[in-house]
């Protein structure tokens, strides 16, 4: 008898459990319907935002640049001013990328491989260009090397002694320096987290076995950081090509020290409908480069994550 009762109890409990489970299942079903609605809403909002805010402006550059036909387009990107601007832009970009890559490797090595006082301060100082307005970057070089700058007398003395005529502010070296300033932290910032994550075990082992610094870097460190390094270089290149504010303060001669963004500015502000179309044509060169950068970046980012 008692066995039967306990059996009944078990059956009862079981049925309650099943009923609960069923109820739960139903609720989940309702929940997922609510989920699909949210999902569709979120995806739509995201798509609309990205298309309206990012894609439409991108397409509108291309449409504006071809408004007066292909012949006008080619003519406006091959003027003397534009060719000179392309030259200066490439020069500044190549130098900035070389300097910042060298700095990025050296600084990230010092910061991640050794412990020293003031490390946090040094990292913050390196990041300054991220938080300073580019116009202030330009201004600071003018205040150093310009007419009022304290370094101008020193530069004059050097020029006199060597019989040279090196100018920095309002000349090509100033443009290069300003470009270096705004892209300064790009490479080191990509390398530091990777080097921190890799740790120093392998390098310490190699050092104890007698490997020199360069060998350690070439054989052990470099293979770990190569994708992050490439990623940093891509970011640095993109920013260097497009820098405007800092260079605008330091460069005043069209056809001499103007970079592509400054040439775009000059064409756009000159006001006639033709020159505005020309400025969009020159812009389209930079748009094509930035789309290529985006694609490269995506590929490399994927490799870094892997």
């Amino acid at each position: 008898m008692s066995e039967i009762i306990s059996d009944l109890n078990t059956i009862d409990k079981e049925s309650i459990r099943i009923a609960k489970k069923y109820k739960q299942k139903n609720k989940n079903a309702a929940g997922s319907k609510e989920g699909t609605f949210t999902k569709i809403a979120f995806i739509s909002i995201s798509l609309i935002f990205v298309v309206l805010m990012l894609v439409v402006p991108l397409i509108s550059v291309v449409i504006n640049s071809l408004k007066l036909g292909l012949a006008f387009y080619i003519e406006s990107i091959t003027t003397e001013y534009v060719i000179s601007a392309i030259r200066i832009t490439l020069l500044a970009t190549v130098i900035a990328v070389i300097v910042n890559t060298f700095f990025g490797i050296v600084a990230s090595w010092a910061i991640t491989r050794f412990n020293f006082k003031g490390k946090q301060i040094l990292t913050t100082l390196i990041d300054i260009p991220f938080s300073v307005s580019p116009v202030i970057a330009g201004l600071s070089y003018i205040m150093t090397f310009g007419r009022m700058g304290w370094a101008t007398p020193i530069l004059d003395t050097i020029n006199e002694a060597l019989g040279t005529d090196i100018q920095i502010a309002f000349a090509v070296p100033g443009v290069v320096l300003a470009t270096i300033f705004v892209t300064f932290p790009f490479v080191s910032r990509e390398l530091i987290p990777v080097l921190n994550a890799v740790g120093t075990d392998e390098e310490q082992a190699a050092a104890l076995m007698g490997a020199g610094g360069l060998t350690i870097f070439r054989r052990i460190t470099f293979p770990h950081i190569k994708w992050a390094l490439l990623y940093g270089i891509i970011l640095c290149t993109a920013r260097a090509l497009g820098e405007f504010g800092a260079v605008n303060a330091l460069s005043k001669t069209r056809g001499g020290t103007f970079t592509l963004p400054l040439e775009i500015d000059a064409l756009y502000l000159s006001g006639s409908a033709d020159s505005i179309t020309a400025s969009f044509a020159v812009s389209s060169i930079l748009v094509i480069i930035s789309v290529i950068v985006l694609i490269l970046r995506n590929i490399v980012e994927y490799k870094v994550k892997k």
């Binding site: 402006p57 010092a110 260009p129 300073v132 307005s133 580019p134 330009g138 497009g242 694609i295 970046r297």
Partner: protein, 287 residues
């Protein structure tokens, strides 16, 4: 193997620097930071400090400078708030849902980083002017965008969106969904779960993204100067534009004085971001 590890540990414990190159790399790093960043910025500081207090005060409190600071700060703030809202939606969509074209959408977020600011500036200005594709549509409803504060804010939204999305995305990826599931199975509705469980976890990342977008917005030059119209009368000049204008008039005292105030503001924002990040890392380490 164990023996070798022990020798290594001994070396490290003795505080010996096993890896070579400490002096050289640190020396180069400090030299380059000083020559390229610190000394030029210090020149601005030294020059602006050579002004008398009265002069400095007069420059800073002149009407158009005050309006420029007001415009820059207000528009950057509004843009950063809007970016926070859309940033959460975008990051959420990119992390939680799967749909065709997701990777393209993810890549496009970075467009404002890759596109030169001057190009973005002239395009947005043209697009939202009363003859442009979007501007002419809005014009029918009597909304003028280009050459107003609205246009300025739109340019700042464009420039700031990747900062917010890229700050929130990694946190959301790491976020353990078991807390949400726990809340949900305890009977909380989806909305309550989001507000009470998910959002507090995202708050530090949102603040970081907000701070970065805000800091960038205050200093922004290239993308805003075309669409803002730079009218002194309508108060659409931003701080960077005023500095550049003073520079073009060779008014170095005014340019450096305004720059100094702006540097102080951006350092405060930077400090705020650092504090948020330190708190965030402490919190994640405790868990």
């Amino acid at each position: 193997m164990a023996k070798r590890t022990k020798t290594l540990e001994l070396h490290i414990k003795k505080g010996k620097r096993v890896i070579p190159g400490f002096g050289l790399t640190l020396g180069i790093t400090i030299a380059m930071v000083s020559v390229l960043i610190l000394i030029p910025l210090a020149s601005v500081l030294v020059y602006s400090l050579s002004l008398s207090g009265e002069e400095f005060w007069q420059i800073i409190t002149s009407a158009n400078v005050l309006y420029a600071f007001g415009t820059s700060i207000l528009c950057s703030f509004i843009a950063a708030v809007i970016n926070c809202i859309f940033g959460v939606i975008l990051a959420w969509t990119l992390v939680r849902y799967d749909f065709p074209g997701k990777r393209i959408l993810d890549g496009l977020i970075e467009l404002p980083f890759a596109l030169p600011t001057a190009v973005a500036g002239i395009t947005l200005s043209k697009l939202y002017s009363n003859k442009g594709a979007i501007g002419s549509f809005l014009d029918k409803f009597g909304i003028a965008v280009s050459y107003t504060h609205i246009g300025l804010t739109i340019a700042l939204i464009f420039i700031g969106i990747p900062f917010v999305v890229r700050a929130i995305q990694p946190v959301l990826e790491k976020f353990d969904s078991q807390y949400e599931e726990a809340a949900y199975s305890l009977g909380a509705s989806k909305r309550t779960t989001f507000i009470r469980v998910t959002l507090p976890e995202l708050r530090p990342a949102m603040l970081t993204g907000f701070g970065l977008a805000f800091a960038r917005g205050i200093g922004e030059y290239g993308s805003v100067i075309y669409i803002s119209g730079n009218s002194e009368k309508k108060h659409t000049q931003v701080v960077s534009y005023v500095i550049m204008q003073k520079l073009n008039y060779l008014d170095y005292s005014a340019a450096t004085a305004i720059a100094l105030v702006m540097l102080i503001i951006s350092f405060i924002v930077l400090l705020f971001i650092n504090i948020v990040q330190i708190r965030q890392s402490q919190r994640t380490n405790n868990v």
